[in-house]
């Protein structure tokens, strides 16, 4: 896979795309880091929904540039609200 990505990705009327410049895996530094990025995204998104009861707020957070770029500080791995007491 080269850095331009697959040309097969097409826009469908039933979808909304949230993307920000300079946030792809190549510009972020990792040439073959899609596995790392995907599993990390899985942890962040699932943790986000566990940390709040406000679904709309969680969805807005995922849409934001901060969420795509870096890990939001409010959802640290060691936050007590993500873990079983």
């Amino acid at each position: 896979m080269d850095e331009s990505g697959s040309p097969n990705a097409v826009y469908l009327p039933s979808m909304e795309v949230f993307s920000y410049c300079g946030t792809n895996q190549y510009t972020a530094g990792g040439l073959s880091a899609c596995g790392l990025a995907s599993v990390n995204a899985a942890l962040l998104v699932l943790s986000l929904f566990c940390s709040t009861s406000d679904t709309q707020e969680a969805l807005d957070t995922i849409r934001s540039q901060d969420f795509v770029e870096v890990r939001p500080r409010t959802h640290s791995l060691f936050d007590r609200n993500l873990t079983k007491e």
Binding site: S38, A42, V45, T55
Partner: protein
């Protein structure tokens, strides 16, 4: 995406390798791993599986996993990996929302960055994945072993794992200890390498010496053979000289008696006389 900047290596790794890292091993649990051919039917079945695992009653079978309704499928279609989520939508009429995360830039859709793609219905991600991981029918039908990775996908269906602060702390310590273990292993390997290099150098020196000895022996052998040949030649010459002396005295005796060569000498005597002249 910040995690990608920490990984500068070019080597590819599997989802299993990532999930084995302490930070993920203690937070994410694997519900199912599915290998299948790319195509709308199989992607539909996969998304059905993701929704199925959102069922709370299903999760009660496993006390380790959280009983919330969020599930993700990490889909690997070599060399690409994307994540397909099923999360609450907040809409009672359609309670679940499919979201796809893709860290690769896509020229026609998100050319500059990673993307979260929100789909309005369940068919959206199926259609999208079928187009993204498009494979030729011929390839799928042939099911040849050497081309199969191009037409197949592997999906890891994951959910958050319950962990206590103590477990999170334990993972932190494990990660650090693993670095220490790797450092020690590396040092051991380096130390083992040095004596081996010395031994290799010494063996090479011994080999060179032995080669020199072999060359010398070969020279000696050649000299000996030459010497034997020379000795044989000397012996032959000596024999020839003795024979010649004997023949000469015999001829002299005969001619001295009569004053002239006899009319009919034996053939070998005549020959020898002519040679002497």
């Amino acid at each position: 995406m910040k995690i990608c900047s920490l990984w500068t290596h070019e080597g590819h790794f599997d989802v299993d390798d990532v999930l084995a890292l302490p930070m993920f091993a203690t937070t994410l649990g694997t519900l199912a791993i599915e290998d299948n051919w790319c195509g709308p039917e199989n992607f539909r079945a996969l998304y059905g599986l993701v929704i199925l695992y959102c069922d709370v009653t299903m999760l009660k079978k496993s006390s380790l996993l959280r009983d919330d309704t969020n599930t993700v499928a990490i889909i690997t279609r070599p060399p690409e990996i994307v994540a397909l989520f099923n999360v609450p939508s907040g809409d009672p009429e359609s309670p679940f929302l499919p979201i796809l995360f893709d860290s690769h830039p896509r020229p026609d859709l998100h050319p500059e960055g990673a993307a979260f793609i929100f789909f309005a219905d369940d068919e959206g991600p199926i259609q999208y994945l079928s187009l993204l991981f498009q494979t030729y029918e011929v390839l799928v039908e042939s099911k040849a072993w050497d081309t199969s990775p191009l037409g197949q996908y592997t999906a890891h269906v994951l959910k958050l794992q319950m962990s206590t602060p103590a477990e999170a702390e334990q993972a932190f310590y494990q990660a650090n200890i693993r670095i220490l273990v790797d450092q020690v292993s590396f040092r051991d390997a380096t130390t083992r390498k040095t004596p081996l290099s010395v031994e290799v150098a010494s063996l090479r020196g011994q080999m060179a010496l032995q080669q020199q000895q072999i060359d010398r022996m070969a020279e000696d052998m050649a000299s000996r053979e030459e010497l034997i040949l020379l000795r044989h030649e000397v012996e032959r010459l000596k024999r020839a000289a003795t024979h010649e002396q004997w023949s000469g005295s015999w001829v002299e005796g005969v001619s001295g008696r009569s004053g002239a060569l006899p009319r009919r000498l034996p053939m070998y005597v005549t020959q020898r006389v002519f040679e002497l002249e």
